[in-house]
């Protein structure tokens, strides 16, 4: 009984310790294409994509790849696709549209017609970089679901709810120089035959870099590149990060503590910019005030009080 109690206690404690980064709410999906318009996308000068009856078509004609206007770093992209018998398209991730193939990678979408569609080049593969571990259903003429999760150094692709590909980009030599943030692109259909197509619908993204809990996890990353990415995301989120960072500072990981301490300062610095956004300032001041009351460690509390002084000074005058 005692033992069990301890286990429960330990479990509770572990939960408390981890709670600084545990997800508290499900953040919303953002639609990139809901059938009505291409407002989120930059259509190339030669076209190549068109909306027909709420579906986004690319056919075997001349045209440009289609890229999102916005760049994303860490996200879950979900979409549905359908290929004709010789359909050949793909989803470009973390790329610079100026040189999409050099800077990013393509998650392949390929109908089973070419002779060279091996595991490294079939649907679901990171084309030419990482082969599929599980070959997906490649049937043409029906809708398939695809989910691409870019999670710092891990890229995971699922087709029809089964994982096909899991890549740790640190271990893929050919991906060494790839961007870790970029636009998302849809490749214009490369099949040259008349009447061939690839089409898409229900394209959604969940931007993980606006999810405070996800961003907070980045503070524990040993790779400074992803840590620095989390710092930038946290700074952009501002007030929403304050309490989580205060909790992180109360933890035991020196890496996360020092990052949280520095970024809290940066958030307050941005909030106090006389030329800055007043809502950002107001929200940060409020969040700081709330976090100070709940701070469990004297060191953290003192720090938050000091930071509050900096921002209070700003509003009092």
């Amino acid at each position: 009984m005692l033992k069990m109690k301890n286990t429960v206690l330990f479990g509770l404690l572990a939960m408390l310790l981890l709670s600084s980064c545990l997800p508290r709410k499900d953040s919303g999906l953002i639609s990139l294409f809901d059938g009505s318009d291409l407002n989120e996308w930059s259509l190339g000068p030669e076209g190549g994509f068109e909306i027909i009856k709420g579906e986004l078509y690319t056919r075997g004609e001349e045209g440009n790849d289609l890229f999102t206007k916005k760049w994303y770093c860490n996200y879950v992209l979900s979409l549905e696709f359908m290929l004709s018998e010789v359909g050949n398209s793909g989803v470009l991730i973390r790329c610079d549209p100026e040189s999409a193939w050099e800077t990013g990678v393509e998650v392949q979408l390929l109908a089973p017609w070419t002779p060279w569609r091996d595991d490294l080049h079939c649907t679901g593969s990171l084309y030419g970089h990482v082969a599929v571990a599980n070959r997906p259903d490649e049937s043409t003429g029906i809708w398939h679901k695809m989910e691409i999760r870019c999670d710092r150094n891990a890229i995971r692709v699922s087709v029809d709810d089964s994982m096909t590909t899991l890549a740790n980009i640190d271990t893929v030599i050919t991906m060494e120089d790839k961007l870790i943030c970029g636009a998302i692109g849809l490749q214009v259909n490369h099949a040259e035959k008349e009447g061939q197509y690839a089409k898409f619908r229900n394209i959604y993204i969940r931007d993980l870099d606006v999810v405070p809990e996800y961003v907070c996890e980045g503070f524990y990353e040993t790779d400074s590149v992803f840590r620095s990415q989390a710092y930038t995301a946290a700074l952009n989120l501002g007030a929403e990060m304050v309490e989580l960072l205060a909790l992180t500072m109360s933890g035991e990981d020196p890496l996360a503590i020092s990052g949280a301490k520095q970024v809290l300062f940066d958030i307050v610095a941005r909030a106090t910019d006389p030329q800055g956004d007043q809502k950002y300032e107001k929200d940060v001041a409020f969040a700081l005030h709330n976090s100070t009351d709940g701070a469990s460690s004297e060191i953290v509390k003192t720090y938050l009080v000091w930071l509050s002084g900096m921002i209070k000074n700003d509003t009092d005058e």
């Binding site: 400074s224 020196p254 020092s258």
Partner: protein, 431 residues
């Protein structure tokens, strides 16, 4: 106000100094100086600079090393041993709390080589106890501390020398003479640089401080943090909790030559670029570039040497641009370049500035004469001020406007907030 006892002791020292000047040749090689005529010195902070202080001061015939003080008993013991080896007859007491040193009425002078966040309070409390101070750079942790230091220094008519020993060199005096001679015309731009920045220092776990170290006292007025060795001896400077990094450390060594030569006035704008380290808990600049606008001068600081001839070989240097020519000089090699020519000197420029007898000697002479030494508090504070403002701009990541009359930033309350830092109890600055 200073105590009557100290007043008397000072008058006595002053009279003695005059007496010695009157009879200069009585015993020129080893002048006998009666114990009562000696300047009684205590050293606070026994790290590497403390050891330098100890070596420098204990070698003067008119100095009696009375006390050593450090919050680290190991360091204290080591330095006492060094002193005893060098001067076997020394009778020196040791303390771990500097307040006990300041309580002693028989001490005339303290030198301070504590970490930066202690500089101001140690000096201020020393002034209040009637002592003169030879204090290490940087002058203080914050701008506000410097202001209070100056006030208390004036109120107590104390003597203060900042430990920028480079100031005393013939080279710095000569550079100032060349610039003041007008040969370069009117100086409109100065470029200062110091290569290297703060390392990250990794992510060490917290530890229990050693029994021999009073970590709470070491922390003093700074915000309390759990102990880890890199926060303490030798690398504390890379934390904004205690200091301003390599930039804050070296600023006054090379900005000194600018103040000596042209004492720029009317600073009104500060803008910086830079980054923190990415590989550790340290948070002071890994690199920093600062642009300062004075009334008649643009001053630039960079972490890499500016693109001017000769600068690439200098780790810490200054480049003056005038209407009629340029001059490049540095901290280490003592090379002077005029335009593209390297030279030892320009013989036709007369010596107009009297030379220092050495930085520590200059201070000790001042203690006797009651005249302020060359790097006195008024001079040193003005010279150091832009450095603090640049660090605030670095931390806030924005350009700042400065009013040099009111010593306040304009339209930026948060920047003004960072001009001072509340002390951790029980420590406080005089109101």
């Amino acid at each position: 106000m200073k105590s009557g006892t100290n007043m008397k002791r000072r008058s006595f020292l002053k009279n003695t100094a005059i007496g010695l000047v009157g009879l200069p040749l009585l015993s020129s090689t080893y002048p006998y100086i009666a114990p009562s005529d000696k300047i009684r010195v205590a050293h606070i902070g026994m790290g590497n600079m403390g050891r330098a202080h100890l070596n420098w001061f204990s070698d003067f015939a008119d100095v009696e090393t009375v006390a050593l003080c450090d919050v680290d008993e190991v360091r204290l013991g080591e330095k006492l041993k060094l002193l005893q080896e060098k001067h076997p007859s020394t009778k020196t007491d040791t303390y771990t709390d500097f307040r006990h040193v300041l309580d002693r009425k028989d001490i005339d002078v303290i030198t301070c080589a504590t970490p930066d966040h202690w500089h101001a309070l140690v000096a201020i409390m020393a002034f209040q106890s009637g002592k003169d101070v030879y204090g290490e750079k940087p002058l203080s942790y914050s701008v506000h501390e410097g202001q209070v230091m100056k006030r208390i220094w004036e109120e107590n008519e104390a003597v203060f020398q900042l430990g920028t020993q480079i100031h005393a060199t013939d080279n710095y005096h000569r550079v100032a003479e060349i610039i003041q001679s007008g040969i370069l015309g009117k100086i409109h731009t100065v470029r200062l640089w110091k290569t290297g920045g703060s390392p990250g220092l990794g992510y060490p776990p917290v530890e229990v401080p050693p029994d021999t170290l009073d970590w709470d006292m070491w922390t003093g007025p700074a915000p309390y943090q759990d102990y880890t060795p890199v926060r303490c001896h030798g690398s504390f400077r890379h934390f904004f909790d205690y200091s301003g990094g390599v930039f804050g450390d070296f600023w006054c060594h090379i900005a000194d030559i600018v103040s000596m030569s042209i004492s720029p006035k009317g600073l009104y704008s500060i803008d910086t670029r830079g980054e923190r380290p990415w590989d550790g808990i340290a948070d002071t600049p890994r690199w920093i570039e600062a642009d300062f606008k004075f009334k008649d001068l643009d001053l630039y600081w960079t972490t890499i040497p500016p693109p001017v001839p000769g600068a690439e070989k200098m780790n810490i240097g200054a480049h003056f641009e005038g209407t009629d020519g340029t001059l490049t000089c540095d901290y280490n090699t003592k090379i002077i370049r005029i335009g593209n020519e390297t030279m030892d000197d320009i013989a036709e420029i007369p010596k107009t500035i009297s030379r220092s007898p050495g930085h520590q000697r200059n201070f000790l002479d001042s203690v006797k004469s009651r005249q302020q030494p060359e790097s006195n508090l008024g001079y040193a504070r003005e010279m150091a001020l832009p450095m603090y403002l640049a660090l605030i701009s670095f931390r806030l990541k924005r350009k700042l406007k400065w009013n040099s009359d009111t010593e306040q930033f304009e339209g930026d309350p948060a920047a003004n907030y960072l001009l001072s830092r509340a002390y951790r109890a029980p420590w406080s600055l005089p109101g």
